[in-house]
Each structure stands twice: as structure tokens, then as C-alpha cells.
Amino acid sequence: EPEVTQTPSHQVTQMGQEVILRCVPISNHLYFYWYRQILGQKVEFLVSFYNNEISEKSEIFDDQFSVERPDGSNFTLKIRSTKLEDSAMYFCASSGPPVAGDKDTQYFGPGTRLTVL
């Protein structure tokens, strides 16, 4: 069964460093998302991406964050200068294509645990 994959599973970085989190969505999906979950809290939306551009972003997704689909398979989240409060689990999700009613069901990757020291 197709699945969303994410690398690395755990990333430790120093405050102020740049990190890139990588995701490979399900191959025929068209909509891509990043969410984050601070330990013990609910899952929060960061950004959605469709047709090579951002569809929507939350207040959390400030200028320190960027997303890219550099090729036909990868979807990346970059944090330019990490802060302590960026420590969280980051989930990638994908959905689509708009057939069989599956456009609106998001499938999640296993997450990347980011620890900022």
C-alpha cells in the first residue's frame, strides 16, 4: 500500500541553524501539507501546497519557513534559523487525486522529531 515517507526520523540541531525536513508524498497525490505537533499538544496546520505554489499558510508559517517541491517526488520544509520553540514533531501529509472522493483525505507520514538545542 502506498505511503508517505519522511526523513530523517529525528533531527537534532543547534539554535540558529537551518534544517530541511524531507517528505515523499504518495506518488499520484496532488495536494501536500505540513503540520507540526509540540509535545503534548494538538496537531497544528502549517502550510498547504498545490500546483507548485502555497495554497494556504498559518500564522506559524512565518518568513523563517519555506516549502519546495524540487522534483517530481520530494516535498521539503525548510526552517532558516531554528528557535527553541521550533522543537516539535513535523508531519507531512498528502491527498488526492480528485477521484473516488479521495481528494479530501489526508494521509500522514511517520513524522520527523525536531529537537532544537
Binding site: 501539507y33 503540520y35 496537531v43 496546520f45 498547504s48 480528485p98 489526508q106 513524522g111
Partner: protein, 113 residues
């Protein structure tokens, strides 16, 4: 703005019992989707069940079923014959138009042997 509320932070039942997790939401949209996701200790987000708002029939997936009350904006999850592997955090989520998922705060469910 859509909001999702899960009023039960924690629940605990014995193995083989039936348990119901509550979820309410607020939206002005008419066509939308509702989901229950399970998050075990591994923290992976696993889709349990989904409900299309335009369908009156409640969704079922094996031991999991929902009670969807559109007028009341209520979407509860029933787990029958609960198993130890059902122990997890459960999140209710709302989605509209291939946009973001809005999650509730979660309910931590423990199944005791």
C-alpha cells in the same frame, strides 16, 4: 473559522468493552469531511475513519463506527470490543475543500487488560 472540540482529555476502559469518544465542531460550511485519527505512542498519525457530511449514513470500519449528527455538529467515535492495541491518542479533525485539517485537542484512550 472552523473549530473542533474534544471534551474528554482522557478515558480508560477494560479490554473488550465498548467506548465512545466525543467530538463537536463549529462551521458554516455545508459540505465537509470529518475524520478520526489515531496516534499511538510511536506518534504516527493513522487514519481511523472518515465521514462525508453529505452522507446521512454513519461510517463504519470494522470495530470502529461513528455517530454523525450534522444538525448538532457532533461526531463521536465508537470502538467496539476494545483491544490493547487501541490504546492511543485519538484526534477528531475537520476538513473542507482540500484545505487544512483542523484538529481537536485529542482524547487519550487507555485500554486496560
Amino acid at each position: 473559522a472552523q473549530t473542533v472540540t474534544q471534551s474528554q482529555p482522557e478515558m480508560s476502559v477494560q479490554e473488550a468493552e465498548t467506548v465512545t469518544l466525543s467530538c463537536t465542531y463549529d462551521t458554516s460550511e455545508n459540505n465537509y469531511y470529518l475524520f478520526w485519527y489515531k496516534q499511538p505512542p510511536s506518534r504516527q498519525m493513522i487514519l481511523v475513519i472518515r465521514q462525508e457530511a453529505y452522507k446521512q449514513q454513519n461510517a463504519t470500519e470494522n470495530r470502529f463506527s461513528v455517530n454523525f449528527q450534522k444538525a448538532a455538529k457532533s461526531f463521536s467515535l465508537k470502538i467496539s470490543d476494545s483491544q490493547l492495541g487501541d490504546t492511543a491518542m485519538y484526534f477528531c479533525a475537520f476538513e473542507w475543500g482540500a484545505q487544512k485539517l483542523v484538529f481537536g485537542q485529542g482524547t487519550r484512550l487507555t485500554i486496560n487488560p
